[in-house]
């Protein structure tokens, strides 16, 4: 601690001034010679990549943009674009885009599904601001989730919509959001349990984490969807959606628990001892001293886990839930639109990309921010 106080005075390790490049490497040619052709192996790689790029990119650009049609089109018009012009028919999305986003949600009520998505997305964005990392964030999520379930499920004057019509983006967002919110406390408890001195708790937590980490998510989902009901008493049934959600929560919690455990391990022993010496009990010590520091360290890896879980929600299609990926698949299985799977999958990929890329950029930004904060 004493040393970090002085570190501000020192120069950063990599100074922005590069050594003098010399005459040969001035300008674009010099840069290329230094970075692309500085050894026979690099030269080979550069040429190879150039060939691949020249082969692939023009075709892709032609299909994506030059030969493509953008306006709304019927399936006949699209057929012409696809078969004669060899271009993408983005117009197919005018027809099918809404189905990919909201699936079988009653057509004239789809504004409700849209509001539900906006509520969740808005709450995600608000959570990103550090000044919102206060108890009021809980209120924000409470409002967002209320809005989500009201819009999706109906009630309070809106017609009811059963959960098997909750498809597409709302489903993806719901699985991801509950996957993170609910798995987080479980993860913290399991991480603490793994470090517990009580053997029973410790063994239970180790078994849980290792069992879940030892099997793919698909297995967990199958178990949740098909096996779990077998264990339930006669007459009791749990909604398929809820089962998938529980599967995802349990799966994510195991990974997050390991992340949190890593954070806990990084807290010096002295912090525990100081808390003990002041007479703080176990839970106060953890909640007030250890976890706030440990979680701060592992925010970036936590965001990483959430990103990967966000994408993993697409696996629910194998147990018969229709998230955006499943709807894209269903869209091109509709015979008149069979040719446009490229367009549909690109659309879905873009949606995943928007969410995941922003989260990833955000976590990088946050990491820099927090590192700077530590150096005071």
């Amino acid at each position: 601690m004493a040393t970090t106080a002085n570190s501000k005075a020192k120069l950063p390790p990599s100074s922005p001034v590069r050594p003098n490049p010399g005459k040969a490497s001035v300008g674009a040619i010099g840069w290329m010679r230094q970075n692309l052709f500085n050894s026979w192996f690099n030269t080979l790689l550069t040429l190879l990549i150039a060939v691949i790029v020249l082969r692939v990119v023009p075709g892709a650009v032609e299909w994506l943009i030059i030969n493509a049609s953008f306006g709304p089109s019927t399936s006949e018009e699209c057929r012409v674009v696809a078969l004669q012009d060899h271009g993408a028919c983005w117009g197919s999305l005018w027809e099918k885009g809404r189905f990919i986003l909201f699936g079988q949600f009653p057509y004239e009520d789809q504004w409700r599904a849209a509001i539900a998505c906006l509520a969740i997305t808005g709450a995600m964005i608000i959570s990103g601001f550090r000044f919102m990392w206060r108890p009021r964030l809980i209120a924000v999520w409470a409002v967002a989730l209320f809005l989500f379930f009201w819009m999706m499920g109906g009630g309070l004057g809106l017609p009811d919509v059963p959960t098997n019509f909750w498809n597409g983006l709302p489903l993806t967002l719901m699985l991801a959001v509950f996957g993170s919110i609910c798995s987080f406390p479980i993860a913290v408890l399991v991480a603490l349990g793994r470090r517990s001195s009580l053997p029973f708790i410790k063994v239970f937590c180790v078994l849980y984490v290792e069992l879940i980490r030892g099997v793919p998510l698909i297995t967990v989902l199958f178990m949740a969807s098909f096996m779990f009901p077998l264990f339930l008493p006669e007459g009791v049934s749990i909604n398929n959606l809820l089962r998938a959600q529980i599967g995802i929560i349990l799966f994510t919690a195991a990974y997050l628990a390991e992340v949190v455990r890593g954070g806990l391990q990084a807290i010096p022993k002295g912090q525990y001892e100081a808390a003990d010496a002041l007479g703080l009990g176990y839970w106060k010590k953890m909640m007030l001293i250890i976890l706030p520091q440990a979680l701060k360290i592992c925010i970036p890896p936590i965001v990483n886990s959430i990103i990967s879980m966000f994408k993993d929600t697409s696996l629910v299609l194998i147990i018969g839930l229709f998230d955006i990926l499943a709807l894209a698949k269903a869209s091109h299985q509709d015979p008149p639109w069979a040719l446009y799977f490229g367009e549909f999958y690109i659309f879905v990929a873009l949606i995943y990309f928007c969410y995941c890329f922003s989260m990833s950029k955000y976590s990088q930004w946050l990491e820099r921010k927090l590192n700077r904060g530590n150096k005071h």
Binding site: M1, A2, Q271, D276, A277, Q293
Partner: protein, 247 residues
């Protein structure tokens, strides 16, 4: 509360092992109320272990430890009661880096003693003022110097109104120019009659405030004496060798 003639700390035939390693051997020590004791000895002699046993940061295996009449056993109530009586200052300060100086001082009073926040803050400001660092109350530990951090750590302990203070080499992680400010604070505390057990090699401090100096080696108390006698006329050859090395 115990009567005034019960010792503040009483160690009887204390033995402790780390696995096979016998780290404390038959320690007997009685500390009177208000007494200041300096513990010294070579590295690895068990000084830290001994004083950490007194507030149960370490468990002992044999013998008994009684603090203010409360015996330390597995009984959690007793452990809590002892920890409420005993404050501890560490070599590496161990401030909570995510809390401000003020919050470091108010945390335990609020959460352990259930003191109202306002009262806790007043008390904290009083002690921060005593250790002459009240003007830094809203900084984070990482933003103040080592000597200041250690004074905050002392204030943090004092906020719990301990009757006994333990110090484990409180100045040995400090740059030389900061040692004095911390020692001055400790002298001030000593003059107010606090019962203190202090592991330190600051012989000036020992001469100035200690009632007794204890020399430990290989897990045993080899010698104990008043500071004058201890430094001018050490009895055991081991003490003599040690003093030659550090003086």
């Amino acid at each position: 509360m115990a009567e005034d003639n019960t010792p503040a700390v009483l160690l009887k035939n204390l033995n402790k092992w780390y696995g096979e390693f016998h780290v404390l051997r038959n320690i007997n020590l009685s500390v009177k109320r208000g007494e200041k004791i300096v513990v010294c000895g070579p590295s690895g002699s068990g000084k830290s272990t001994m004083i950490r046993c007194i507030n149960r940061l370490e468990e002992h295996q044999e013998g008994s430890i009684t603090v203010d009449g409360i015996e330390l056993t597995d009984n959690l109530k007793n452990i809590d009661a002892v920890r409420a009586e005993v404050g501890m200052v560490f070599q590496h300060f161990n401030l909570f880096p995510h809390l401000t100086v003020l919050e470091n001082c108010t945390l335990a009073p609020i959460w352990v003693k259930k003191m109202p926040r306002k009262e806790a803050e007043e008390k904290a400001m009083y002690f921060l003022d005593r250790v002459r660092i009240a003007n830094q109350a809203h900084k984070y530990p990482g933003q103040v110097s080592g000597g200041q951090q250690q004074r905050v750590a002392i204030a943090r302990s004092l906020c719990m109104s301990p009757r006994i203070m333990l110090f484990d080499e409180p100045t040995s992680a400090l740059d030389p120019e900061m040692v004095k400010e911390v020692l001055d604070t400790m002298v001030m505390l000593a003059k107010e009659g606090m019962t203190m057990l202090c592991v330190t090699h600051e012989m000036g401090f020992a001469k100035a405030v200690a009632d007794r100096v204890i020399f430990m080696d290989k897990g045993e108390i080899v010698e104990e004496n008043e500071p004058e006698e201890f430094f001018s006329n050490p009895q055991s050859p081991r003490t003599r060798t040690f003093l030659e090395q550090i003086l």
